[in-house]
């Protein structure tokens, strides 16, 4: 399992990459492995939308299950990855790169402290695998 140390992770398996006040959000390598082959991605927010923790950002479908991508932070959506609709398989092949989903301008950076760092997230994943 690949868990880059420069990212923050949520309990519902999203990763967050913070650059200035912009948070880029996607799903973790653990999450894509659990879902198996992703065949459908729909980003359900639009640029300009205000989002808060727990809001649904995207719907995913794999050959075995459907899942929502939850927003881990509050803020305003500034960019969405429109290419994913055509290439859902990159969620499996490049979850931390090409498969970024939404960029949010952070309204409250203190929320980031509630997220896990890579080593806590790895521990959290290991616990759930038993």
């Amino acid at each position: 399992m690949n868990t880059p140390t420069n990212l923050k992770y949520s309990k519902t398996d999203e990763w967050v990459n913070v650059d200035g006040n912009i948070a880029t959000i996607g799903i973790s390598d653990y999450a894509q492995d659990q879902l198996s082959d992703i065949v459908f991605v729909e980003i359900v927010v639009a640029v300009g939308d205000t989002v808060k923790p727990g809001d649904t950002l995207a719907s995913l479908e794999s050959v075995k299950a459907a899942a929502d991508v939850n927003c881990p932070v509050s803020g305003k959506v500034v960019e969405i990855n429109e290419a994913l609709a055509q290439t859902p398989e990159v969620v499996n092949s490049d979850p931390y790169g090409k498969a970024w989903m939404v960029k949010v301008e952070l309204a409250n950076t203190s929320e980031l402290e509630t997220l896990m760092d890579a080593s806590s997230y790895e521990k959290y994943c290991a616990e759930r695998s038993h």
Binding site: S36, V39, K64, A65
Partner: protein
């Protein structure tokens, strides 16, 4: 695929049927409707019969062998059901016939309603819903109508345990409710503390599948129902797993307000490709007036010489019709035959054997497959299809390999709360020899997973088509072999 499509078998000018010369004057079709652009296949009668007969032999079905598809109750469907449903008095009647000419049909529906009430412990039944999911939808519409009639309009949420059938959250969302997920505790029951924390005056109800999708009977069910009622909500019981309870306990007595039956699971009417489902809905006394209709009732009591006069009635606050006419009548005939063949003792035997069979399989497999919620199960259980020392093997590979052993795979990847879930429901119609063969196949596959994993990864090996590319199938939705040119 070893069998060409019917279009590939077609040859211009080949005919199945030759009509005699007509003995009435010919009227040509209006020219604007005559086209030669439709590539209809042209075949002889033996071409057609052999094509479809060959295709049917590729299929797996309950008449061929064990079909342990968890949650679906793929029991054997007795052939006497089919005989009865084809009796001309049933098969040749029309729903628009005057009621007095179909009194026998109405009597059957009335008795079936009464029997379902007795079996489930409820006060009223509507036979109308087309299948389980529509039964659920009907039930949630009744919940809405009940709160609305009381002027209680702030209830916008429905609670769904994460061990519920997947249709439960779908039903609630489709009915306009917000779905609130409830976790399962470590024993596989609804987490009572979590329930306590979310209950308030915005909860319209809770949908409980009991036994749940782990195949476990929620031992706190009476307490769960009491807590929801105390908060002003109603409890919907998903009756899809009633197979395990028949003659032993009644959902109505446990405090449920509404439930649906799956005649096509519990009462042996065919399902899957075999026929429509049927999802009657039962309700407790305080909800009888909301049932969808029309419902069969006695219009005029009978005498010693004369049977009663049956007719259709609409409940006073009915949510309306949920299906054209009166539901899937042919399925009601089959369920009626099944219930009358078994009687009260026989129905109890069904539940006992469904539970015994599942527990026997569980006991044979628990040393080979991890059982995450391991306790006495009801009619089904969930195993994990993975081993730490067999990396790369997933539930899907085990399911595909079972096909090589001539068994239908169990349900996989559901419920979601078990990793690599294999959900196994043998049903009561399987004998010990079949269960042993199935258990031995699964044990052998576990050995293969460790010793020659490629056997699983490349399975199935013995089928007309090898493993299907599910990703391609999900992404490229080409559903017909011929696409109109314009």
């Amino acid at each position: 695929m070893t069998e060409p499509t019917i279009y590939e078998l077609s040859s211009p000018g080949r005919l199945g049927v030759r009509y005699p010369d007509p003995d009435v004057p010919l009227t040509p079709l209006p020219t604007e409707f005559v086209r030669d652009s439709l590539p209809l296949p042209e075949l002889s009668e033996p071409d057609v019969i052999r094509h479809f007969t060959r295709l049917s032999t590729f299929n797996y079905n309950v008449d061929k062998g064990l079909y342990p598809l968890g949650s679906c109750t793929m029991k054997y469907n007795p052939k006497v059901n089919e005989e009865a449903a084809r009796l001309p008095g049933f098969a040749l009647t029309h729903p628009l016939q005057p009621e007095e000419t179909v009194q026998g049909n109405l009597a059957l529906m009335y008795e079936l309603q009464e029997w379902l009430k007795e079996i489930s412990g409820f006060a009223g039944v509507s036979l109308q819903p087309a299948a389980g999911a529509q039964g659920e939808f009907t039930g949630v519409m009744i919940i809405r109508a009940y709160h609305k009639a009381r002027g209680d309009t702030k209830r916008t949420k429905i609670l769904i345990p994460d061990s519920a059938h997947g249709t439960n959250p779908a039903t609630s969302a489709m009915s306009g409710y917000q779905v609130v997920n409830l976790p399962t505790d470590s024993n596989g029951n609804v987490d009572l503390n979590a329930l306590k924390n979310v209950l308030d005056d915005q909860i319209a109800g809770l949908m409980l599948t009991n036994p749940n999708t782990l195949g476990l009977f929620d031992v706190n069910v009476v307490e769960v129902n009491r807590m929801v009622h105390e908060a002003g909500g109603l409890v919907y019981g998903d009756g899809a797993n009633l197979n395990a309870l028949l003659g032993i306990t009644r959902p109505g007595d446990l405090g449920f307000d509404i439930m649906h039956f799956n005649l096509h699971k519990t009462f042996s009417t065919p399902h899957g490709g075999g026929g429509p489902g049927s999802g009657p809905v039962a309700v407790a006394k305080h909800l009888v007036d909301f049932l969808p209709g029309p419902i069969v009732d006695i219009i005029e009591e009978g005498t010693e010489e004369e049977p009663p006069l049956y007719g259709f009635c609409m409940p006073s606050k009915s949510i309306g019709r949920v299906k054209s006419f009166f539901g899937h009548f042919g399925m009601m005939v089959r369920a009626y035959v099944y219930i009358s063949m078994h009687g009260p003792e026989g129905l109890r035997n069904i539940a006992e054997h469904a539970v015994l069979n599942a527990n026997y399989l569980l006991a044979r497999l628990r040393n080979t497959y991890k059982i995450p919620y391991d306790r006495i199960c009801m009619h089904e259980f969930v195993a994990e299809g993975r081993w730490e020392d067999a990396p790369g093997i997933r539930a899907l590979d085990i399911a595909k390999r079972l096909i090589d052993y001539d068994f239908h795979p169990p349900t996989n990847y559901f419920p979601l709360i078990v990793h690599e879930a294999l959900m196994i429901e043998p049903t009561e119609t399987e004998n010990k020899q079949t269960l042993d063969r199935f258990a031995e196949a699964l044990i052998k596959i576990a050995q293969e997973a460790h010793q020659s994993p490629e056997l699983l990864k490349e399975a199935p090996h013995n089928t007309p088509v090898r493993r299907l590319d599910e990703v391609k199938a999900a992404k490229e939705l080409v559903l017909c072999c011929w696409i109109p040119e314009n």
